[in-house]
Subunit: 414 residues, 2 copies
């Protein structure tokens, strides 16, 4: 055991005072028996295709001896080709040998792109509100990470344009389809404008697309990279993940990036973790090759769509105008705003006491001063329709209790 | 496809001119049919415990639904506890909840430790010759990486002491047992001296121990962390891997580090790749829990020991004094030195033409000026005893052809 006095380590600046995740702080409450959690940022466990994955694994098990060595750093050829075919079905053509790389989720894809582009003194942009880990991986490079206002209609592209003039970012990361936390989707016009800005200011525009295949209603908009032609193609990267469609426990994602960028990401990955597991990669390639993925995604799309509809219905029926929201067209999240005097942080302990948990909006802002304190992220992914309806009934009760200043036993750290 | 002119990306400094790996350059030659490769830094495929791994996987498959979500960032509890027990058998006691974390091979453990400790302006030390990826992951932080002379008796601890006075490193990485490429093992006295230096100069001493369990002969020396008491425990970390004992394709390693360091590594991993695959972690935990690991390691130890003995015999029999070497007591590598006029780089194309491949020593030096140009790394892991003997016969023929200046058709890039 280490001695009891903590030595004064000289950590690298981004790690001197590690932030406490306000989302992770909620986990003990969200996992209480009887509690309905709309806090999770993960898919529904009961929708995993366990049989299909076991079938793919059995196939790989029969040739396991060939799947136990180091993988190519950029990924097994079988999986790269399968992911290139999947990307092509989303409108993105790419060369699996020079533009595509397998990564440990899309999180690692973003981390690698950040690492090869950014160093102290550089500037990167992220959306705010946005997924905290996206900003965090950029901050870890020592770069300055600035936030561009975003919301239920996606990132404010004209604000981004003004900020780019001033700050000259080297990397800009957006979730263009069914964003986390807002569930927002950027129009085609805004996507084209982002590409033009990337070319003009020579920043790498990274679209993180974990949710794009989970569209329930409305018309699909192509990924940004699918709209990139000529010079724009040199400044756009696409990253995606199997975490929301297959399972997070695979830790398989990928990037499509310009060859010179991808080549450096391969060098970064070699020094980071050598490669992704060849075993798991072969299972995912087998699952894609079996057609299991193409059969599975419509099933979860239907299930999540039904849950999303149930959430909208419940909010309209039980909360009246007390929570404003846009009905999401896909993804896993709904961004609601309390319209009364109570803000989402004040409401939270009451909600927990009433056995319904959400993530307050301020968890998704890098700068607390920018935070929309009325907002909350409601995930509709992991609860069924009846639980969702019951959860919103509980939320109304919690709001009433909060408005009445009733005593509450839950004490959350600030 | 990107347009044909390469845009001028402003990459982060460590990625502006990515190095070409001299080892990877050899792969096409090493994998030619008929060629005997002693170049690989990986274990023997035919020694993988495919049946045991499939049995563990089948067990996990029966409870797969519970292994598909995001893992804890620091690793599944089952695996952390199993790895703490394994570490304890190596002499290292630790708390699996505050000191141990599962990582993507020991490579990721080193990368995470480097990232939380190092930034531009800082100094880190690595051994030279040493595993190139160890130095590379530190360079990627922007820190200055200095090399401490090493060799068949391990890192020069007194040289390290003198350098530490001058350069004040924040992190020092060593392979203390059966090093790559030298096969060297540090004495207990030198390990204790390293710990004293770590306390004196307040650097984090990281021992990378992928090979320690592969001891064929001689007396075991405890891992450095097992010798750390009191304040020294605050400045020592231990990292290890399943890549050499189970299989590289699992991508499972671990760290034991002081809690404040480990906590920050968890934050770094969250932003890097969220976690290792829960599925694979559960398979490894099951394999360890089954006792399969404890049955398997003696088998591969015996096999590698026999191959190591065969290499020593062949070198003595066929090369006489023309290659000097110390008989390794474990691991996968033998460090040989050509004693004549021919150096290992000049010999290499002849060797390839004679269908025997090794890695020339200069591949393991960060600074070419320091390189021992006579040296070569011979892996005895992946070839059987007959192939090893034949390989050394071919090497002698190649040396004769080289000495005679015979024409050679292989042209290797510098």
């Amino acid at each position: 055991m280490p001695s009891s006095t903590v030595p004064e380590y000289a950590f690298a600046a981004p790690f001197t005072h590690p932030p406490v995740s306000p989302i992770r702080r909620l986990v003990p409450y969200a996992s209480r028996p009887g509690t309905i959690s709309m806090a999770g940022g993960y898919p529904a466990q009961e929708l995993f295709d366990v049989a299909g994955l076991n079938a793919a694994a059995a196939n790989v098990g029969a040739r396991l001896a060939d799947c136990l060595q180091y993988s190519n750093i950029e990924g097994q050829a079988s999986l790269r080709h399968a992911l290139a075919a999947l990307s092509a079905r989303r409108g993105i053509s790419c060369d699996p040998d020079t533009e595509l790389a397998v990564t440990g989720g899309s999180q690692q894809a973003l981390a690698l792109l950040a690492r090869v582009m950014l160093q102290p003194g550089d500037v990167a942009f992220v959306e705010s509100p946005g997924f905290p880990n996206s900003a965090q991986t950029m901050r870890h490079t020592g770069a300055t990470v600035l936030t561009v206002p975003s919301g239920p209609e996606g990132v404010d592209v004209e604000a981004l344009a003004r900020m780019a003039e001033i700050h000259k970012p080297k990397l800009v990361s957006v979730v263009a389809t069914f964003s986390n936390p807002c569930g927002a989707t950027l129009t085609r016009e805004k996507r084209l404008r982002l590409l033009a800005l990337a070319v003009e200011h020579r920043f790498l525009l990274v679209e993180d697309d974990p949710y794009g295949e989970l569209r329930f209603t409305g018309e699909a908009v192509p990924p940004i990279l699918a709209l990139a032609t000529g010079e724009a193609r040199n400044w756009a990267a696409y990253i995606s993940s199997m975490s929301k469609t297959m399972a997070p426990g695979l830790r398989i994602g990928w990037m499509v990036a310009p060859p010179e960028v991808r080549r450096r990401c391969t060098g970064a990955k070699a020094a980071d973790d050598m490669a992704c597991s060849a075993w798991i990669q072969e299972i995912v390639a087998q699952y894609l090759g079996d057609g299991a993925y193409d059969r599975h995604v419509p099933r979860i799309r239907e299930a999540y769509g039904s849950r999303c509809a149930a959430l909208g219905d419940a909010l309209r029926e039980h909360m009246g105008g007390e929570i404003a929201f846009l009905q999401p067209q896909g993804g896993m999240f709904c961004w609601g705003r309390l319209t009364g005097a109570v803000d989402s942080t004040r409401l939270l302990p009451y909600a927990i006491e009433h056995e319904i948990v959400y993530v307050p909006g301020n968890a998704f802002y890098g700068d607390p001063a920018q935070a929309d304190t009325q907002a909350m992220r409601l995930s509709f992914a992991t609860m069924n329709e009846a639980q969702i309806a019951e959860g919103i009934v509980r939320l109304r009760r919690a709001l009433r209790a909060c408005e009445a200043n009733e005593p509450v036993s839950i004490a959350l750290a600030a």
